[in-house]
């Protein structure tokens, strides 16, 4: 029934458009305007360009101001302050050019609309102008690039030695987190060792793995460098922590990394936003399959003391599941058991 009604509506609409079209064609033939170079439409179009400029320009400015707090995500990392500053500097520069060129574009369109008594200027070239508008953008861009490059080199420089290492592994469709434990060394892994109980493929013949422990959330200390060791188990994923201004692909077979310094705890952010439920989040930004849009992980940023306390309270993999060391060679197994039993 709906289909029938809709098709009738569509047919009526087409007929209406058809009638309007025929009528305006006949009128234009009657007025002989189809023989003219430019009709009143020319002026209408010229005016519409100005209207467009004013309405859209105004709307854009108004919306950008009113909505600023909505689309501007709060920053929670030190390098985020730098990249955001770059972003807003670039916005200022490009915004100026955007508005200037659009005023020129639409103003010229309006002002120089066709008039029978006028002739266009024959102005084929001017090398001085070309040089100016090659050099000026080149210089502006150079400044932007160099400031961007400095920030980029700092962000991508090797992590400080005292950085807290967290391993984040993406798989369809979640993230798994592993901490290096008290020795601050992540144990080796091999994807072939992956099983239902050892989902990260940790190689427990590496003694560094004995104290490695999992965590439901990513927990990191405020004000201290944190290094994410990022990998993927199946397809490409990408770790995106929007508030930290952090993004790095997770690539199977090629570990990647990203280090940063969080500068606000979750609690501080909650107070700042007046939102008791607020959490820092990780999302996936590299399409990875059907559940791409569900890969959420919470980051909890805490004060350093709280972090250290939390860190020592965690249970290593082999303690919570001694089966993991069942197949180890005898000597290693003994070592692991000693580790489990000491306290």
């Amino acid at each position: 029934m709906y289909g029938f009604l809709i098709s009738i509506g569509v047919i009526l609409l087409i007929m209406l458009i058809w009638m309007v079209y025929r009528i305006q064609t006949l009128i234009s033939v009657a007025k002989g305007s189809d023989k003219k170079i430019a009709t009143t439409s020319n002026k209408v179009n010229a005016i519409l360009f100005m209207v467009f400029l004013i309405v859209f320009g105004g709307w854009m400015v108004w919306y950008s101001i009113v909505e600023f707090d909505n689309f501007q995500l709060p920053i929670a990392s030190e390098h985020g302050i730098v990249t955001d500053r770059l972003f807003w500097i670039t916005t200022a520069v490009t915004g100026f050019i955007f508005i200037l060129t659009h005023i020129l574009l639409f103003w010229f369109s309006y002002h120089y609309r066709y008039r029978e008594d006028r002739r266009a200027a024959f102005y084929p070239d001017n090398n001085k102008l070309e040089v100016i508008w090659t050099l000026v953008p080149a210089i502006v861009l150079t400044i932007l690039v160099i400031s961007g490059w400095k920030a980029w080199s700092d962000i991508t420089s090797p992590a400080p030695d005292n950085a807290h290492v967290v391993e984040i592994m993406g798989y369809q469709f979640a993230w798994e987190v592993r901490y290096p434990g008290l020795d601050e060394q992540l144990g080796d892994y091999d994807y072939r060792l992956t099983t239902a109980t050892n989902s990260r493929g940790i190689d427990f013949t590496d003694k560094n793995a004995f104290d490695d422990f999992p965590s439901q959330n990513v927990v990191i200390p405020k004000g201290e460098p944190v290094l994410f060791n990022i990998r993927a188990r199946d397809v490409l994923h990408s770790v995106f922590a929007p508030h930290m201004r952090l993004k790095m692909d997770a690539v199977p077979g090629m570990p990647t990394r990203f280090w940063f310094v969080p500068n606000k705890t979750t609690e501080e952010m909650r107070a700042e936003l007046g939102d008791e439920e607020f959490e820092f989040e990780i999302a996936c930004t590299e399409v990875c399959g059907i559940g791409h849009f569900t890969m959420r992980k919470v980051i909890r940023v805490v004060e350093p003391e709280e972090y250290r306390k939390w860190f020592t309270e965690q249970t290593p993999f082999i303690k919570s599941n001694p089966d993991l060391i069942a197949d180890l060679p005898v000597d290693l197994k003994e070592l692991a058991e000693i580790y489990i039993n000491e306290e």
Binding site: A120, Y123, N126, F278
Partner: protein, 630 residues
Amino acid sequence: MAVANVLAHDAASTHDDHDHEHHDNFITKYIFTTDHKMIAKQYLLSGIFWAFIGGFLSILFRLQLGFPDMDMTFLKPILGGWINASGKLDPAFYLALVTMHGTIMVFFVLTAGLSGTFSNFLIPLQIGARDMASGFMNMLSYWFFFVSGVIMFVSLFLEKGPASGGWVVYPPLSALEQAIPGSGLGMTLWLVAMVFFIASSLMGGINYITTVINLRTKGMAFSRLPLTIWAFFLTAVIGLLSFPVLFSAALLLVFDRSFGTSFYLSDIYIGGEALPNTGGSAVLYQHLFWFLGHPEVYIVLLPALGITSEVIATNSRKPIFGYKAMIISMLGITILSFVVWAHHMFVSGLNPFLGSIFMFLTLIIAVPSAVKVFNYLTTLWRGNLIFTPAMLFSIGLVSFFISGGLTGIFLGNSAIDIQLHDTYFVVAHFHLVMGAASFFGMMAGVYHWFPKMFGRMLDEKLGYIHFWLTFVGVYLVFFPMHYIGIAGFPRRYYSWTNFSFADMYTDLNMFVSVAAIITFFAQFIFIFNFFYSMYKGRKASANPWQSNTLEWTTPIHPGHGNWVGEIPSVYRWPYDYSKPGSKEDFIPQTVPLSATPESNLPHEARLVKLEKEIMAEEKEELVTNESKES
């Protein structure tokens, strides 16, 4: 001697064409045709068909994004099982939709539909050639594209859906059927279709390049080529150099998928088993893909810019400002387009040092683009602007080119790109600068050259309505995406409600979707105009826009061979509009300098004598040739 040969060849081919026209039947005229004009129309119609498919797919996923709670049962007659029992769009099919939308729009609409149509149509007509260098290869090029299209179209109807890994089809997702259903047969068909498409592009490109280099008419020096031809020529060069790399990327992917190699695969545990592949690199694929993928942006953009240059100059009644600067900019863009690809990969795990290099190179390419914009603006300045629909679309293109180009400065800066990569900011950026700008270039071309294609005029009023609805619509769709992107909304998300940072802007997304739907339906105005005017439109005059270029010297309905009798010679550049001293405000390229002493510039006045000598010489040669033949 060379001139004599060309003349002899021309004389012979005129003769041949005469024969052809008597024997043309339906199949050789409309289907397996070697006439570049008909092939151009085939490309155009295919492009329009694909644009509607691609647009329709985007409407489907915009419905999901704008109205996540909507009951989509009414789409069941079209989508069948992709609408699940509770009336929701299947998330796997959502990914298939965005993938096919991208593939179709980038390759089938903006590459084949734009370059295929206008390079084919305009190159011979504007350089003064009877046809392409190889009419047969040109025909093959279209039919390879057609086969590619059929395969891609079939893949839409597979039980497990078409390719779904995004239009970039990054492995391992695209290599493993376990990872996503679309990576099964759908992906196989995608790859097969792309192989045909690449073959088609290469055959077309070789033809365009050869034709421009070899078949220009007398006097049509490279320095007198319309900017359209420069754009098509450079586009073909880019395509010829970069498409083979996509081919190699696709081939290696085929090997990984079907023959157990490990070019892109390494250390994968999926579906409860560890795969044997080791040593491959997923990033390798990204390098190979973007080595085409980035130049591809310019493959779709340059023809649009070329068309715009021509349309803006003609309808401003002014020479294009900085003809040489325009050519140099396009050359610069052509060369630089090959050394910026890795700016798509700043956060892919690429060596950060390489990231720095590519950031510098990327921002250099903004300079020639800026020069082009300023030149367009100066062309409008003190013009006498006639707003034909083609002119409106060209001005629209300049606006999109600015808006989308400026956001490229953010994304090319690797430090800023960390946050913006793969968010809606990127979606806004490339849809404006590459999608909408190229689409507007294509529309400008259709409105401008429709009279030459079909001998009739498109209705102007409908053109105006079409333009304003589309222009405003495109901005309403893509401008809000900047805000959504700055807020961090990731791309290719079926729904954002899982994340508290993205659990907002439902109103804005709804707004975008409504704007997209209106814009999509506005295109039916064009469709009506196009097909109605083809048969019932006002009859066109020989030179309806009072343009200088050669195509308007052909008969209103040019036959195969374009010109009756000899091909006209060219004596001047194509932009002598409103030249001081001349009575008319345009002087076609075929008018000798010696015929316009009143408007010649000083350096042209000096050339008049030389020109007269050459003309006398040519006349002699013509006489000798004719006597030889008889």
